[in-house]
Symmetry: C3
Subunit: 139 residues, 3 copies
């Protein structure tokens, strides 16, 4: 990973072999980022993504191990228990240009990931929500 901060915007390059979620978490920890929006494109060859089942209160996960373009990565950095909390969703296309996606657990970069992170001048936390079983925005 290499990056620069210009004004309120980080321009980030993540590299082949890096895992996007943990690499972004390390960046947020290092730069003390606690509220931001994230968008990215790139190419990955391994993805663990999920769909949340609100009834069962658990994620159904699926792993993809094939070359895929990351056509969209969107999400936020907020704060929970004093640490950066990431919530990211991805859309990925395979060699037939068919797309897959979901809540992101892990994304391993095959070529590059180009990310724009915009700082937001405020604080938003997370609170566990009994109704859905998720950690929701807490203002």
């Amino acid at each position: 990973m290499e990056y620069r901060c210009f004004g309120d915007t980080y321009v980030i390059r993540m590299d082949r072999g890096e895992e996007i979620v943990s690499t972004l978490a390390a960046l947020c920890e290092q730069e003390n980022i606690r509220l931001a929006s994230v968008e990215a494109i790139g190419a990955v060859d391994r993805a663990l993504v999920g769909l949340y089942d609100v009834g069962e209160k658990e994620y159904h996960k699926r792993e993809f191990r094939e070359p895929m373009e990351l056509t969209s990565l969107l999400g936020t950095v907020t704060e929970k228990d004093g640490k950066p909390y990431l919530h990211l969703h991805a859309t990925l296309c395979d060699a037939n240009m068919q797309t897959h996606g979901g809540h992101v657990n892990e994304l391993y970069i095959s070529a590059t990931c180009e990310m724009i992170l915009r700082l937001i001048p405020g604080e938003v936390g997370r609170r566990p929500d009994e109704d859905t079983g998720l950690n929701l925005f807490q203002f």
Copy 2:
């Protein structure tokens, strides 16, 4: 829905059972928002999305009623006839992590929707366009 405005950025949480388009329209009306970009992720269990047929000048719509992750919601708020005008497109993944999408008519939240709305300091309207049958950006 609950939200905070930090600088030019609204951080918005919409909740289980709320419909995204009408909830966002109410927010824009209430906060007098007339030009903004919107991005969001979340989880929905009912979606009405469409594809516009330029030849027939009508939308072909399809309804999904199943748990889906909202992997991407992108669009704009502009102004038409003195009111906020929303134009949103969504990508959604189902329990097989296959994705669907389209022009958004209605999206009903199953768990949460996390939205970032950025104000843009200007004015953009909409004008009916005979050639396409759509309401296009008018500067």
Copy 3:
């Protein structure tokens, strides 16, 4: 194409028959834009998109010729050899609301394209990378 710049944000309308990549490149050349993020939605009827094969160091491309909603276009403008360098990924849905996508080579507009381009106050170049065969962000 028609557009306005409000603060650091361009609001852009591209029109029926225009090709998005070349139209955006012309705008960046004309307005001397060298670092920006791009997001857009719209409708297209012809798309040439690809998946990069890191092993073979080449793009596998597929052309779509059918009415499609552009549910997401994300990417960046950087600089290479003194000129704007675009890197865009798209997600597109067909008449069945199934989605496709990939690295964007060409996107021809059927109805409209609504784009938000945000200037970033800095400079990022591109350097050829032997390992991946791609032009990566150079800071």
